[in-house]
Every structure is written in structure tokens, then in C-alpha cells.
Symmetry: C2
Subunit: 133 residues, 2 copies
């Protein structure tokens, strides 16, 4: 549904959201989430540039979720890695369909798309925290 990389980003943020009390090594995130360490470093780098994550080099360093990232909708994360989705585009790539000239799937898809958008804008990074059962 979304790219592997986006999935990595969400998992990473979920892990950081769960451990906000200290600096987390990239290596630790990789081990705990199963994301390839080398690739993860690229993902973390982008999350840092985007301001979702803070980093500290050297001994005792690592990564941390930034405070204001907690309330950030996950839509922003997905867009960062998958690019902005064309909200208008027919997911089937059918010839231009819109309200005036709908393809057979248009109306049904319109509704589903709305629910997905609602989910992505409502759920925040902070809510990716792995809570106690």
C-alpha cells in the first residue's frame, strides 16, 4: 500500500515514541525493529532533516523523537518518503474521472479515499507508541 521505506519510518518513529527517556542508538532501533541498519541510517537522516527526530553524535549519542513530532499526523511521514499523493488521481489510472464524468469506481473510491485521508491526518506520531497491553 505504501513503500517499504515509509513502513520503516513509521516503525522507527513508533520505537522512538515508546522510548523517550534516553538517546537511542540507530543500531538498537535496527535490532529491535528488524530494519536493515545501513538503510535505517538513511531513513533516520531524512527524519532528522524533516525535524521529527533529533540526533547526537559521539559517545552517549543516538536519536530521539522531538517533542513537537508527537502531535504530527502520520500523513506527513508518508508524504516525506512516498511523495505527496495526487488526491484527485483515480487509483486505477482510468481516463480522467471526476464528479462530472465518473468512472464506474469513482463514487465508491471517493468515499474510501476520504476515510483513508481522515485516518492519516488524525493519527499522530505519538499514537504509534507501543502501549502496555
Amino acid at each position: 500500500m505504501w513503500s517499504q521505506t515509509s513502513s520503516y519510518a513509521l516503525r522507527t518513529l513508533g520505537y522512538l515514541a515508546t522510548h523517550r527517556d534516553r538517546w537511542i542508538l540507530g543500531k538498537e532501533i535496527a535490532e529491535q525493529t528488524g530494519i536493515p541498519a545501513n538503510y535505517l541510517s538513511k531513513v533516520l537522516s531524512q527524519l532528522r532533516k524533516k525535524g521529527l527526530v533529533r540526533s547526537l553524535k559521539g559517545w552517549g549519542g543516538g536519536f530521539q523523537l522531538r517533542e513537537d513530532a508527537l502531535s504530527s499526523p502520520i500523513l506527513g511521514v508518508l508524504e516525506l518518503f512516498d511523495g505527496a499523493r495526487d488526491a484527485e488521481a483515480c487509483p486505477f489510472g482510468l481516463p480522467r474521472c471526476d464528479a462530472g464524468n465518473p468512472c464506474p469506481l469513482h463514487a465508491r473510491w471517493e468515499r474510501i479515499r476520504g476515510e483513508i485521508d481522515s485516518m492519516l491526518t488524525t493519527v499522530t506520531v505519538g499514537q504509534l507508541r507501543k502501549g502496555p497491553a
Copy 2:
């Protein structure tokens, strides 16, 4: 959302569903739908093997939609090119989430997934026909 190739397949079937009165050249489909002609031939070949489309070589030949394809759900087409989707998989690749240990997105996604499945099994190839306004 789905692969480019699946989109091509749906557009192709839509075009064939709209012109059921004669044999349609692959070239014509390519021109009218904007699908690369050479690549389209592969897609058509798979549609033929799957029994959705009939072909005729030589002068006056081309492609035609098969009668029974009209009532076939488009889900089958998507699975043909994208492979069967893992219905259980969390679209975010988050650590195994299920009813017992749901990720924050689980419940919301469950519902959306149901609607998508419903759409894909309900809409048929015949309904891809480009009807008169």
C-alpha cells in the same frame, strides 16, 4: 495504490468492454489508452491466458473481450498482475498487529480494508465500460 501494470489491464479491459462489436487491434488500444504498445502486448497476452480476452492473428484479427469476462470481478484482474494481497498484513508493516494486540491503526484500517475488498469483488469488468454520459 496498485501497480502500473494492473492499471493498464483495467484500462484495456475497459476499452474492450466499450467496443465489443469487432476485433480490436492492439495498436488501437495502445493509441486510445496511451499505454506503450509493446508493453501492452504482454498485458494482453496475460489477459488471454487468463481467459478474459480472445485473440485472432492475421488480417482482420485483434482482441476481443470474452463474454464471461463481463461478470468477472476486477479483483481477479488485480491479483493476476499484483499477486494476491495478504489480507492480514498491516499496511504499515508494523509489528504483528491483530485483534488481540492491535496497532493504533488496526481497527480503522480493518474497516477501510473491508470496504476496498467489497468494492473489488462487487465491481465487474463489464462495469468498466465507458458508458454514454
